[in-house]
């Protein structure tokens, strides 16, 4: 508060060279009035603003996905989802060329995914980890591939499906999600 006063006062010349005495009186009066005004306004009770954040879900819904991924987007996102690291630019370019050279893109994608699963550094939970907390696995899989949460019906169906298919592994679940139509859109 003191510094504000000083600043205001310092705006007024303190050693005039050519003003009259009445001018000096006027200036002094104005300075005094300003100081009083500042004091009055500063003495008001401080209002404390309360700011709150409204939680906005950052996950998308299936209904919002209406743009088809390009080949390059598909392979980049797929690689990240499976390896938890970024694919190189040259690999994206080469895979795009390969995709263009195969008429049925579903076949090309199946071939690519099954090649990826043959690589040692693919990031997959084990079957035991999946079964230890199936609910969490399903939720995480939806978030990883679809960038959204499953609804209760989806959770229930997928849980029952995995439990009733003894050969179902995290790899095959990921395979299904990566091939699904929803995954082709964003």
């Amino acid at each position: 508060m003191n510094s504000e006063k000083k600043n205001l006062i310092s705006l007024v010349p303190t050693s005039p060279t050519c003003e009259t005495k009445s001018d000096q009186t006027t200036i002094a009066a104005l300075a005094a009035l300003s100081a009083i005004a500042v004091c009055i306004s500063s003495c008001k009770k401080e209002q404390v603003g309360v700011f709150e954040l409204t939680e906005v879900p950052l996950v998308s819904t299936a209904a919002e996905k209406d743009k088809l991924k390009t080949n390059q987007q598909f392979v980049s996102i797929l690689y990240t989802n499976l390896f938890q690291s970024a694919i190189s630019g040259s690999d994206v370019f080469e895979l795009d060329q390969l995709f263009q050279s195969v008429g049925d893109s579903e076949v090309a994608k199946e071939v690519l995914i099954s090649n990826f699963f043959n690589e040692s550094n693919v990031q997959l939970p084990t079957v035991a980890e999946m079964n230890a907390d199936l609910e969490a696995f399903i939720v995480e899989t939806y978030k990883r591939f679809f960038v959204r949460l499953p609804n209760e019906a989806e959770k229930a169906w997928v849980r029952n499906f995995i439990q009733s298919n003894p050969y179902m592994t995290p790899e095959l679940v990921y395979f299904s999600f990566a091939l699904s139509n929803e995954y082709q859109f964003y």
Partner: protein, 447 residues
């Protein structure tokens, strides 16, 4: 069973058979009205811009290269005529001085021309490559058809699948690469047809290249019942859920069995490439030869009803005439090899028609570029580049027949597509759809 009961049951059965439509895999209700004159058709787009002078006219260097006016037939497997005797530069080895020998099959059976029918003066619609290729697969000259754009009107692939009930692996397009919008030709943008009736496609020089070997050849093998079946079942659930929100993705429509077949074929090709045992012509030093080799592998594996193969290497003629005659000589060698393979396959031999047609020709006058032999190069933009031809052979065509001549043009580029449609039984449906060029006929109907 008494007489009345027998008649009643017979009548009911007959009525049922007549009333119940045939539900074909393609979704059409009735089988095509036309009969098939062969079970398989191979349409070779002998493309890249082949001048009439160096092909049908058998002029080699005469007329095109003032300093070396030597004629001759450099396509002696396909066309009847004597090879050049002077200034050989289209063969193998240093300077291309060793012509590729005629394949054994043709030394005993004669040229493909002698085995079939040659329409020697056919009219192209376009002097450009993509326009020309489009006119072949669509059977039409489409105003407004742009590059990097799918065919505007339906293609022969879609007619066959929609009206003929052919499955996805029954209809193939084998491209010479992925440049020039070639991968866009396997189905059209027409809303009544489109991807769900499209052809399967490979560009073998890319699919089975080193890149393919690196990225696609190490596919994990899954058990079809224990692993793939539940994987597809979960995918189906996910797709159904997405469809509730209006999300859908049209596809070529290979069944799961067909997808497995394709993947097995790809694995086989990667193995053969690694071993160096894939089919290819005796001389395979360019992309056309490699493409044709893989087309032969595909034919033997899938036995498709319709296969379209695209060549392109002769387009080097824009800047190098010597390379052009070499590529033309190899195109002859490669396509002849393909027909040889077909004739030696028990299921395909005697049951397969082949149709060759360039998409456009080349100019009458050269541009200013000279190659190492001081031979002038040729572009394609003038009237001469609309002069093409079509050679066909197989059970649907008479042998040793030549139709048309210079000054007596018979046939159009669009006729090739309708010829394939006629052979495979969908000609009436194609005509009824109303998308092809007016005045288009099957070459067979022009005989």
């Amino acid at each position: 069973m008494n007489r009345r009961s027998f008649i009643k049951k017979t009548a009911l059965t007959t009525a049922g058979a007549l009333a119940a439509p045939y539900i074909l895999p393609s979704g059409r209700l009735f089988a095509p009205t036309g009969s098939r004159s062969a079970q398989h058709v191979v349409l070779v787009m002998f493309a890249g811009g082949v001048r009439h002078q160096e092909s049908i006219d058998q002029l080699y260097l005469e007329g095109s290269q003032v300093i070396d006016p030597y004629p001759g037939n450099i396509m002696y497997n396909l066309l009847t005529g004597d090879a050049p005797t002077m200034k050989i530069a289209y063969g193998t080895g240093e300077g291309g001085i060793n012509p590729i020998p005629m394949l054994d099959y043709y030394t005993t059976h004669g040229s493909l021309q002698s085995q079939g029918t040659l329409f020697s003066e056919v009219r192209a619609f376009s002097s450009g490559h993509f326009g020309g290729l489009n006119s072949i697969v669509q059977g039409a000259d489409i105003v407004g058809q742009g590059l990097k754009q799918r065919p505007l009107n339906p293609t022969i692939f879609e007619y066959l699948r929609r009206h003929g009930g052919y499955s996805a692996t029954d209809v193939w397009f084998v491209g010479n690469g992925i440049d020039g919008s070639v991968p866009l030709l396997n189905y059209s943008a027409n809303p009544e047809y489109g991807i769900k009736y499209g052809a399967n496609f490979f560009a073998p020089t890319v699919t089975f290249s080193e890149i393919g070997q690196d990225k696609f050849s190490n596919a994990k093998i899954y058990h079809p019942e224990n692993e793939l079946a539940p994987m597809y079942a979960l995918k189906a659930f996910l797709d159904n859920t997405f469809a509730q929100y209006g999300g859908a993705l049209d596809a070529i429509g290979n069944t799961e069995e067909e997808k497995q077949l394709i993947k097995t074929f790809m694995n086989e090709m990667y193995t053969k490439v690694a071993d160096g045992t894939f089919l290819r012509p005796p001389v395979f030093d360019n992309g056309d030869a490699i493409t044709v080799g893989f087309a032969a592998e595909l034919l033997k594996y899938f036995k498709p009803a319709f296969t379209c193969v695209n060549l392109n290497n002769v387009d080097v003629c824009h800047s190098n005439f010597t390379s052009y005659v070499k590529a033309l000589h190899r195109a002859d060698h490669s396509v002849a090899f393909l027909w040889d393979i077909i004739q030696n396959d028990p299921e395909l031999a005697g049951n397969t028609d082949i149709i060759l047609i360039p998409e456009c020709g080349r100019n009458a006058q050269p541009n200013s570029i000279l190659d190492a032999n001081q031979w002038a190069a040729y572009d394609h933009s003038d009237e001469n580049s609309l002069r093409i031809w079509s050679l066909m052979a197989g059970p649907s065509f008479p042998q040793n027949t030549v139709v048309g001549s210079e000054g007596n043009q018979i046939g159009k580029v669009s006729d090739a597509m309708l010829t394939a449609a006629r052979i495979l039984g969908v000609k009436d449906e194609v005509l009824g759809a109303g998308y092809i060029e007016g005045g288009t006929y099957s070459f067979i109907d022009l005989l």
